[in-house]
């Protein structure tokens, strides 16, 4: 066991650090910044070389992420493309699709989004209703609505999961496509969250034509294709030792700054809360490091990676609550006397974290069944065609 960089890792870190420090001023132009990093070999580190990547290790990618965070640099603009859409194209795309999309995605020449969730298909993703119907010419006509689509308003392309056969059980009638977000019939509407921001969108498909050449995988095989995407997503949420919500160090700094204004009793209570949240956050972080070590040995991310999101969401909530509380009387309003909105804003974002990317309840089912081997619940929808299931209740 060791936490030190290997000689190779240390050299890579020194290189990354020096490059970033030299170029850090350039990150404001988000697409150009990603292109700069791509040219430096820092984007898609783990992607295969033939896909435009570096063929590197998850540890090398983690080092890039750590060094970016150290300088307080923002995430890459095309993160969903890199983390989810790209890997799906790599695994299931045609040579033409790979050729056409992958390098441009890494350079942020094109931005990507992921079009899976629907109003009536949240946790039960496979219940989605967006229809793709085959035209006489072999292409597809898409109608329906997606929701919770990050970046849809800026994206050039999206990966789109549709129902192509409602007469078979719900997991078997799905097909995945690459869709041109500028195509006629695509409408994007921002969706405001409870904190007032609009990080997500609703996307409406109204007779949108998608060429059959943009199919990803076989018709009817969309669920298996989607699992590639979701497995990639799992790693980016609470995996690899990254924090969900605030960094615990940031909360500790904030509490330390405000502690002096509290009574001795309140200080003792605040330290208990900080200690509890901090231990949970450290536990999640070091468990992430164990996962990263496994990945670096070539093991696939298993369902146990979801544990990080489960506990990270909870400790983020508790730490943020403490951070709000130490504001004292200002905790009742949305900005402190100095106009600082950090903690009230964080507070209003967290309820969504226990839902987005797999709700706490669904993640517990997955871990219970796939990690602990506990029996599944009796399913009432097994073997029923999707169409029938709509009339069941």
């Amino acid at each position: 066991m060791d936490f030190d960089d290997t000689p190779d890792e240390a050299a890579w870190r020194a290189h990354v650090r020096s490059f970033l420090e030299h170029h850090r001023g350039e990150h404001d132009a988000a697409r150009a910044w990603q292109a700069t990093l791509y040219e430096a070999g820092f984007v898609g580190v783990t992607w295969p070389v033939e896909a435009g990547g570096r063929g590197g290790t998850p540890m090398q990618q983690a080092i890039v992420d750590q060094e970016m965070a150290r300088l307080g640099l923002p995430s890459l603009v095309n993160l969903i493309g890199i983390g989810m859409c790209g890997p799906t194209v790599i695994m299931h795309g045609s040579d033409r699709q790979k050729e056409r999309y992958l390098q441009r995605l890494l350079r942020a020449d094109d931005l990507w989004c992921q079009l899976f969730s629907e109003p009536a298909a949240g946790s039960d993703l496979a219940a989605l209703r967006t229809r793709a119907v085959r035209e006489p010419g072999g292409d597809w006509r898409v109608n329906g609505q997606k929701v919770w689509t990050t970046l849809a308003h800026l994206a050039d392309y999206g990966i789109l999961l549709t129902r192509t056969d409602p007469d078979v059980p719900k997991h078997r009638g799905l097909t995945m496509f690459v869709v041109d977000m500028k195509a006629p019939g695509v409408t994007v509407r921002p969706l405001r969250q409870m904190n007032g921001d609009a990080h997500f969108n609703e996307v409406f498909f109204d007779d949108v034509l998608v060429p059959d050449a943009e199919r990803l995988g076989e018709a009817g095989d969309g669920w298996r294709v989607a699992l590639t995407t979701l497995m990639s997503e799992r790693l980016s949420l609470g995996g690899g030792g990254t924090s969900i919500g605030p960094k615990p160090e940031a909360v500790a700094r904030h509490v330390a700054e405000h502690l002096g204004a509290l009574s001795a009793d309140r200080q003792a209570l605040a330290r208990q809360e900080l200690g509890r949240g901090y231990v949970a956050a450290l536990g999640a972080r070091y468990t992430g490091y164990r996962q990263l070590s496994k990945l670096s040995r070539g093991e696939l991310p298993g369902p146990e990676a979801s544990a990080g999101k489960l506990s990270g969401t909870r400790s983020a909530r508790d730490l943020t609550d403490l951070a709000v509380r130490v504001l004292g009387a200002d905790a009742r309003v949305a900005a402190t006397g100095d106009g600082d909105r950090t903690w009230p804003t964080m507070q209003a974002v967290l309820p969504g974290m226990a839902i987005a990317g797999g709700s706490d309840q669904v993640l517990r089912n997955i871990i219970g069944e796939r990690v602990l081997g506990l029996p599944a619940e009796p399913r009432t929808d097994k073997g029923v065609s999707f169409k029938e299931s709509l009339h069941e209740l």
Binding site: A127, Q193, M194, R332, V333, A334, I355, S359, L393
Partner: protein, 324 residues
């Protein structure tokens, strides 16, 4: 013993629900947040309805009713996120007892708010007359209000700089404390209404939304979450009724009952809001859904009239004192 609402209370609750549901709503709370729209039903309507002035003696133009009656109304106000808070009226009625200004509170000619010593003041935004403590004395006067960016716009929180004040009572410690305790009771009643309404929303959604071929309310993970909220809400209801009854009939029990109700309201409303957002999934954390408006109420109310931590501490001190 007969620890339940009488028919008179049930009738009062029905009337209050009718008036408040017509004049306030989560949509109005959203508009207040979004566009700075006025809080509904607003002071004038609340006074006109007679509900806000229940605890003011008839001699001063009020209803001459009980704290329990006001608590019954406050539950209905909490259900629809009405404002300004009945807490403000209840406290002011206690503090102005025997003063000529009480008639102004009762007829709506004075817009009173009660300024605690710490930070943004409840219902300060449209207030013109502020009650405060100065060196143990109860003082009254105009004030300059600076609005604060709201989490829950229905609470009308603003910083108050008092202008020239007059002393209403030189040693007002007891009266101030009773005002706080009656205020905590009414605050808890508003929290009860909000939490009970959240629970209804969660239960209704769980009976209608399906996932994996079943209604989500049939899953234990969802069902038990809602049951835990139900248990908390019913216990809060008992504590609110007890505190209100004590305010009217058993002053020696009021300190413990009011602190317990205040603390339980803070935690119950917060748990209810978080659970019900979770039950709704994605739709629950959208701006257009009502859940976050109740969540906002929870996040603010827990810090009013002392926070939950202070209330639990007080409960413990009182419980230990009582054993001596």
């Amino acid at each position: 013993m007969n620890f339940d609402l009488d028919q008179e209370h049930l009738d009062l609750a029905g009337g209050a629900r009718e008036f408040l549901a017509a004049s306030a709503s989560p949509a109005a709370a959203r508009a207040a947040l979004e566009e700075g729209a006025a809080v509904r039903p607003g002071r004038a309507e609340l006074v006109k309805s007679g509900f806000a002035t229940i605890t003011i003696p008839e001699s001063a133009g009020g209803g001459g009713g009980s704290v329990l009656q006001l608590a019954v109304v406050a539950e209905q106000a909490g259900r629809v996120l009405a404002g300004p808070s009945l807490v403000t009226f209840a406290r002011a009625a206690v503090l102005l007892a025997g003063d000529s200004r009480l008639a102004g509170l009762a007829d709506g000619s004075l817009a009173v708010a009660v300024a605690d010593d710490d930070g943004p003041v409840l219902d300060a935004i449209d207030g013109d007359t502020f009650l405060a403590r100065r060196d143990g004395a109860l003082v009254c006067g105009p004030g300059t209000v600076t609005a604060r960016e709201p989490i829950d716009a229905t609470r009308g929180l603003g910083d108050v700089a008092l202008g020239e004040t007059v002393v209403l009572a030189a040693d007002a410690a007891d009266r101030w404390r009773r005002g706080e305790r009656v205020g905590r009771t009414i605050l808890a009643a508003e929290g009860l209404g909000a939490a009970a309404r959240l629970l209804e929303m969660g239960v209704a959604y769980a009976k209608q939304r399906q996932a994996f071929g079943r209604l989500i309310g049939s899953y234990q993970a969802v069902k038990h979450l809602l049951v835990d909220v139900y248990v908390e809400v019913e216990q809060l209801r008992s504590l609110v009724w007890w505190a209100a009854w004590a305010a009217d009939r058993a002053p020696a029990e009021l300190p413990l009952a009011a602190a317990a109700a205040k603390a339980a309201a803070a935690t119950t409303l917060e748990h209810a809001a978080e659970a019900v957002i979770q039950v709704h999934g994605g739709i629950g954390f959208t701006w257009e859904h009502d859940a976050h408006l109740y969540w906002r109420r929870a996040k603010v109310d827990r810090f009013l009239l002392g926070d939950d931590v202070a209330a639990f501490d007080e409960v413990a001190r009182l419980a230990m004192e009582a054993t001596r």
